[in-house]
């Protein structure tokens, strides 16, 4: 045990604890709580019933108050452990509350009303996961539509991104032609033109093309990403030109060289771009918010933000749907995080 502890708390060739070791561990453990805590709290809350969500102080795990159907009352009544005026304890159902006095009945003998001070009763609670938070939006709301729209936008945009950007990267890395540097600079210059600067005229262009309130209007403006061209071109530059010359001698067409030789060799870079693209497009918010104004076209992000901005927020549904929206990205994080971190460290681009 002590050897494991010694291994975990191994320090840099010093004797005893240096103050920097203490700072390091405070920072790391604090970071763990602050970075993961909010997401964990969200997932935990998403299983609580609306009544439990409105409670303060909140419970860590989801609890619900048990209810019982009592003869003579339409709705199921909340059950309480109550101490009767004569000191006896009993499980009673609350009919109504007037001030500090709760009117209760014994579920066995519904005829007789018993008055109990509210300080003398505590709710009977059991742990229960409110899975209806998840199932109801799928059946009663447009949630399935939003999910489908998001999946459609993400998958289509990523496929087009891969094809279009790899073609451009191929031209920019394997051909000598006039204006090559100019084309490369032009593409890099577009990094300077973020959406927030051009959204007004872009909106008019997308409308003029008939793409307003159309998922293609969300997809097309995003697919030619300078980052994508940049990553792929850097990678294709490492493919030896001799390979291409040999293929030309074997009468391969340029198109065949592109998709049978260069593309398979670029697979690792394509994979990185695909991961990036999926995360980008899944998370896109401002542009879909502008282009999509019909409810049935909303993506998950737009739908969530609109519902959460309503006057009467249905937090139990919002929380559950936020968790669902998080799932693909969390999967990417768990399984593909390594690719992304090396990609960022290598290119400095997001």
């Amino acid at each position: 045990m002590s050897r494991i502890a010694a291994f975990i708390f191994r320090r840099k060739g010093r004797n005893g604890w240096h103050w920097t070791d203490i700072v390091t561990w405070i920072w790391l453990v604090g970071g763990l709580l602050i970075m993961f805590g909010p997401a964990v709290w969200l997932v935990g809350s998403s299983f609580k019933s609306p009544a439990a969500l409105a409670e303060f102080p909140p419970t860590i795990l989801p609890y619900v108050t048990q209810k019982a159907t009592v003869e003579g009352y339409d709705k199921p009544l909340d059950l309480y452990d109550a101490t009767l005026p004569d000191g006896r304890k009993a499980v009673l159902a609350e009919v109504r509350r007037i001030g500090v006095i709760s009117q209760m009945v014994d579920p066995e003998k519904p005829g007789e009303i018993i008055k109990v001070n509210i300080s003398q009763r505590t709710p009977v609670r059991t742990m229960a996961f409110a899975t209806t938070n998840y199932t109801e939006p799928f059946t009663h709301f447009d949630f399935v539509r939003y999910l489908w729209n998001s999946v459609f936008v993400t998958v289509t945009a990523t496929l087009i991104t891969l094809v279009v950007n790899s073609m451009a990267a191929f031209a920019l890395s394997k051909y000598e032609f006039r204006g090559r540097t100019f084309a490369m600079l032009l593409i890099l210059a577009t990094l300077m033109v973020p959406l927030s600067v051009i959204m007004v005229p872009l909106y008019s262009i997308v409308s003029a093309l008939g793409l307003f309130n159309n998922l293609w209007g969300v997809i097309l403006p995003t697919v030619a990403t300078p980052t994508g061209v940049f990553i792929l071109r850097q990678y294709m530059l490492t493919i030896p030109d001799e390979l291409i010359d040999a293929a030309r001698m074997d009468k391969a067409s340029e198109w065949q060289i592109y998709w049978r030789i260069v593309l398979p060799l670029t697979a690792p870079a394509l994979a990185v771009l695909a991961i990036f693209s999926v995360v980008w497009r899944w998370n896109d918010f401002l542009w879909p918010l502008i282009v999509l104004s019909r409810k049935e076209l909303y993506t998950l992000q737009v739908g969530l933000s609109i519902y959460s901005g309503e006057l009467n927020v249905q937090w139990h549904f919002i929380l559950a749907m936020t968790v669902v929206t998080m799932i693909p990205v969390v999967l990417v994080f768990i399984f593909l995080q390594r690719f992304i971190t090396t990609g960022i460290a290598g290119t400095g681009l997001k």
Partner: protein, 342 residues
């Protein structure tokens, strides 16, 4: 990155997916051979470049240039042909103030409120972001058990969507939220943080740092790991104190990365929108209204929308961003010239 030889076609599933793709690519090949005969090799280069350039042209360059024309027109019409030319009126309107320090003295008081808010936000967020990500990178660069795990911990929020980030924190800062719950343990009364102007502003700064810190930590960590270890060994042998080694070795050698990170953070901070919009909606009042939200609401969301005014404001913001990007490119160039490391 290096090219690797592709693995021989493997699983049945992958093969099955590839069959229609192969077929399609093969079908495209015949007409493209004809194109190639007509155009020659240079023409083929243009062909490969065309789709990308077309999309860039239509959806980035064209709007970029139209934007200037837009900012010179008035009215609520959408298409440029239907709009009336007003010259520099929109800019004049944006700058029409009797006292630039006080937004209330301006015709477009919300614009100046947004400018002021954005300026404060940039100053606070950039300073704290650099500080936190630098400390985290330094700590992750120590000899740590499970370093990749800890790196992942700080990187996790980077992948979350701004909407999810906004909602997570909106939920935590609720009256019945986790923060009030934690403070309740110390005897504090629950408080609605996001209804308080100052706390909402602080939340906007904090949440945006929470969401993006991991990204910059990663770049700084890569820079730290590229510093040769023997420099520190030599310093230690000379009896140099660690603090001095930090100022004399770590910081100067990290400077190229640090400068790039500072400019990147600046560029993103000026454009802040998504997560804050979901978190506070710009409120309470206009206390967290930033420039991008002003442009969005002026251009699209309000009853009295004014695309020309929004375009003018977006051009002003664009100018700031261009200056920042040029600084970044200049910095990249100069650090490349030194050629100290890749």
């Amino acid at each position: 990155m290096k090219a690797e030889t592709p693995r021989p076609a493997g699983s049945g599933f992958g093969e099955a997916i590839m069959v229609p793709v192969r077929l399609a690519m093969g079908l495209v090949d015949a007409p493209l051979r004809w194109v190639q005969r007509k155009l020659g090799l240079g023409g083929m280069a243009a062909f490969f470049l065309l789709p990308n350039m077309l999309i860039f042209g239509i959806f980035v360059l064209l709007p970029f240039f139209i934007n200037f024309a837009y900012s010179m027109t008035g009215g609520t019409a959408l298409f440029l042909d239907d709009r009336t030319f007003v010259g520099t009126d929109q800019y004049a309107r944006l700058f029409d103030c009797s006292n630039y320090i006080d937004p209330n003295s301006c015709t477009e008081d919300t614009f100046w409120t947004a400018v002021g808010n954005t300026a404060w936000f940039v100053v606070l967020q950039v300073t704290l972001m650099i500080l936190f990500s630098l400390i985290t990178a330094l700590i992750l660069n120590r000899e740590l058990m499970a370093r990749s795990f800890w790196r992942a911990v700080f990187f996790f929020p980077v992948l979350l969507s701004p909407v999810v980030v906004g909602l997570i924190w909106k939920w935590i800062l609720q009256r019945q939220g986790l923060l009030n719950f934690a403070l309740y343990g110390f005897g504090f009364e629950p408080y609605t943080w996001l209804n308080d102007r100052n706390w909402a502003f602080a939340a906007a700064v904090g949440v945006s740092i929470w969401a993006h810190m991991g990204f910059y930590t990663l770049i700084l960590l890569a820079g730290l790991q590229a510093i040769p270890k023997d420099l520190y060994e030599a310093a230690e042998m000379d009896g140099t104190r660690p603090a001095r080694a930090f100022w004399r070795i770590t910081l100067p050698l990290l400077m190229p990365n640090l400068l790039v990170v500072i400019v990147l953070v600046l560029i993103r901070a000026v454009q802040i929108f998504d997560e804050v919009y979901v978190l506070t909606g710009g409120g309470p009042g206009t206390s967290t209204l930033y420039l991008t939200q002003y442009i969005y609401e002026t251009g699209f969301a309000t009853q009295l929308r004014n695309p020309g005014l929004a375009a003018a404001a977006s051009i002003l913001m664009g100018m700031v961003l261009v200056v920042l990007t040029l600084i970044q490119l200049g910095l990249g160039r100069s650090s490349e010239k030194k050629g100290s490391r890749k």
